[in-house]
Amino acid sequence: MEKGIEPFEFKQCISIVKSTGKSAKNLGELRTLISKAGDEPIFHHTHQYFLKGHILEYANDFAEWAGVNLEERALAERLSCIDPYIMKSVSAVRKELIREIDSFLNDFPEPRDVVTGNEFYLNETVSLVFPVGVSAKNLAEFLVAVEHIDEGSIYYHFFDSRVRLGEGVVDDFSRWIEHGLGKKELANRIRAIDPFMHSIERIREHIMEVIEEHVRAEMEGVTD
């Protein structure tokens, strides 16, 4: 092993949805739900949206419900623009959701009910975190690992870490590359990948592209 370098241990998380038993049939009820909910349901419906593979039209479950079930596309767009990964805490996300809903209710104070069966069901998750038995001591091993790990592992290190570590904007991968390998410029290039705009598969591809490019440049002697 390269001397002094702590290997990167890949982990994965698997989440099981737990019902809170609470639901909302209109926007007013949704506002109450959001304001009274603990952090876990808010985290699930916003941050963990990215676990779904980023394949829906909107960027969190509240926006999705507002657009698809309430058919309030303007509101859905505004809720969808709330980026949970640039906020310092789950409470900040909650405040922002309520601010957007209040602003909408101010203009349209009598929201209609959804069709029965299409209510918003407030859930949370219980997550199991486990090591996947893969570690990397250098960039080449890291690249091979990133290519083969499950999406759940990319999610855990690239998305979940930003909240877990409480630093707001840092993912596990770039932290290790900067602090473990001492490659700050490469770390910054990984941090420049927009977590909001890609599916997990595209994130994987982007990380690999950036690292491959760096390794190539290193071999040609044009980087630090």
Binding site: I16, L56, V126, F130
Partner: protein
Amino acid sequence: MKQYSGISPKGDLLLIRKLCEKLEGKSFLHVNSTREGGGVAEILHRMIPLLKDMGIDARWEVIEGDAEFFDFTKKTHNALQGNPEKFTKKMWDYYYEVNKRNSKKLDLSADAVLIHDPQPAPLIDFRQKSKKNTWMWRCHIDVSRPIQSVWTNLRKYVQQYDTAIFSVSKFAKSMPKVDEFIVTPSIDPLSDKNRELTLEEINEVSERFGIPRDKPILLQVSRFDRFKDPIGVINAYKIVKKYNDCRLILAGSPATDDPEGEAILNEVKEYAGTDDDIHILMMPPDHHKEVNALQRMSDVILQKSIKEGFGLTVSEAMWKEKPVIGGAVGGIPLQIVHGFTGFVVYSAEGAAFRIRQYLNNPEMASRMGRQGKEYVRNNFLLTRQIRDNLSLWYLSSFRGKNVIEL
């Protein structure tokens, strides 16, 4: 479990292995009401040997009852899905009595007990209070809008469980002392209904059923039941036919427990008339390989239900990389991410429009088919359901925690 390597997500298989290491030697009892027939029995036949292989002392018991008992549970099943039925206190007493009798015959002393559906739900009353174990109730039916009095009677038992498991969020019940989880059902990629078939096997089925492969095939596999809207499917086919020549296969078994079944089948046959391109196939419920072949020879697969529990035929079709169209009911929208893994529709006209889109855009159809298969791989395979069952058992020791490190 090795057979699933390369098919199921690596993380699911790894977590199953890790959980089995943690739970090794412990006992896991499943109880339901039938050894054969129905999705629950199908899954248990497969799941129990897999768990045993992994070092879990897994057992499967079936409760016994007479015709009176099963008539009653059939009625409760219907009422829990919203159909009014007549009940008396005597019936509920008998239901309890049969469960009590079963409790004396069955060994209920496992470390984890998973009771499937309402029939054996009262067994919880005979839980050994001294033993520290976990009791979970798995509800496989749509209880989102039950006849309230029936749910109130059943709830007396369900609320004594540690954990309740529902297939869809809107089925959950908000019981104060019960942890309620959402676990979707699954398909087995290695079963006869879903395994890869050879071209010869597919051709043999198409010849046996007399289906020429000369034009695109539309397929719906379901019971002949009003809720599956077979007439709507024929209407959609008729609209499509004006622009795209095609065949329609409606394949299913008669709904024997539905007095309307026969009438609906006749209605469907009459509605199809003498059109040689409509094939109405009646098949026994165990014709899994035949269903598999029909799905694989089709170009577009529909599940145009107007009421549905979960509708796993959608995942079966998606697993075969087929473009799918489904009604926006039950668990169908959980499987069909509209515009990505298929289309959700609300009418026969809407279904026809989407069929035409698929038939006229083969590239789009195959892209959505591929995406559908990956979506099923990540969400609806048997290994994910085994993973979740084991996880819920393991999690029962960590109640109140949201993140557990293994």
